[in-house]
């Protein structure tokens, strides 16, 4: 159980309010891609032990998805940001 600071609500909330929404920044391949590329896009995940970049959904709160970098061994949260701010930074 941990507290997550939602970047939209601007407050730390209980983990129960959130749902995990998968690995972040998976690129959708073009329609001309091969079946294998499409299969990888749909099913293959990095499954990292250590620092991961994940999408989380504030499902019981503002219902927005944001990005969270965390260590899935120690449960330490390293950073949380919105997709908009990432786009702005790039």
């Amino acid at each position: 159980m941990f507290l997550i600071r939602c970047p939209y609500c601007g407050e730390a909330r209980e983990e129960q309010e959130f749902s995990y929404a998968g690995e972040a920044f998976i690129q959708r391949p073009p329609l001309t891609c091969s079946d294998e590329e499409w299969g990888d896009y749909l099913f293959k995940r990095k499954n990292i032990k250590g620092v991961t970049t994940e999408q989380w959904l504030h499902s019981a709160g503002c219902r927005r998805i944001f990005v969270m970098e965390r260590n899935n061994v120690t449960y330490e949260i390293l950073s949380i940001y919105t997709f908009e701010s990432k786009r702005g930074a790039a």
Binding site: Y8, C9, G10, E11, R13, E14, Q16, E17, H58, A60, G61, C62, R63, R64
Partner: protein, 190 residues
């Protein structure tokens, strides 16, 4: 075929509210309010003009604007606002909102039947609710604040417009369960 006769009902009207009617903990279900969901990004073209026309000022995160006498606009998420207003004014408001927002990328949806609206008061209200809610309602919900969170495993929207009470919205389909949870959690204060 029988003519469809709509009936006005609330989620908890079958319940015996005398069971939750003490000085320590009192719950009432409010029948006279409607709930309209407004989805619009205030920065969208034409939105500012339309919102001004509707006398809506867009609230900051976790806050509210307006009042329950005309329309109380609650921040639910970025570009999503929950508007509680007197039931008698609801249809006219929706009509006016749809007209004002014509051509703007926005949505106005009547969700009045989707929720049970509860008014919770009593000296032990925070003691009871803290058994159910994840959020620190006593410490972190000052006047004018609204939070969307979980209580007794149900999604709830809790807000404060008065010093001595809380308002809570729970989905119709969860209302019976939430009621049972309130009855059980308040047992020791009856």
């Amino acid at each position: 075929m029988a003519k469809f006769e709509p009936q006005f009902a609330t989620a908890l009207e079958q319940q015996d509210f005398n069971r939750l009617n003490s000085a320590a903990f009192k719950v009432q279900e409010l029948r006279d309010y409607g709930y309209v969901v407004l989805r619009v990004d205030a920065n969208t073209e034409g939105a500012a003009h339309a919102l001004a026309k509707l006398d809506i000022s867009v609230p900051e995160p976790l806050t509210m604007t307006g009042s329950l006498d005309s329309h109380l606009v609650k921040w639910i998420g970025p570009s999503e606002y929950g508007i509680t207003l007197p039931l008698a004014q609801k249809d006219a408001f929706i009509k006016a909102a749809k007209e004002a927002l014509q051509g703007v990328f926005a949505a106005v949806v009547d969700n009045s039947g989707g929720y049970s609206f509860l008014h919770i008061s009593g000296t032990q209200r925070y003691e009871v609710l803290s058994k159910l809610a994840l959020y620190d309602l006593r410490g972190q919900l000052p006047l004018g604040k609204v939070v969307s969170t979980i209580a007794a495993k149900s999604g709830v929207i809790v807000y404060r417009v008065e010093e001595e009470s809380l308002r809570l919205m729970v989905r119709w389909s969860f209302a019976q369960h939430f009621w049972n949870a309130l009855v059980k959690a308040s047992e020791e204060y009856r």
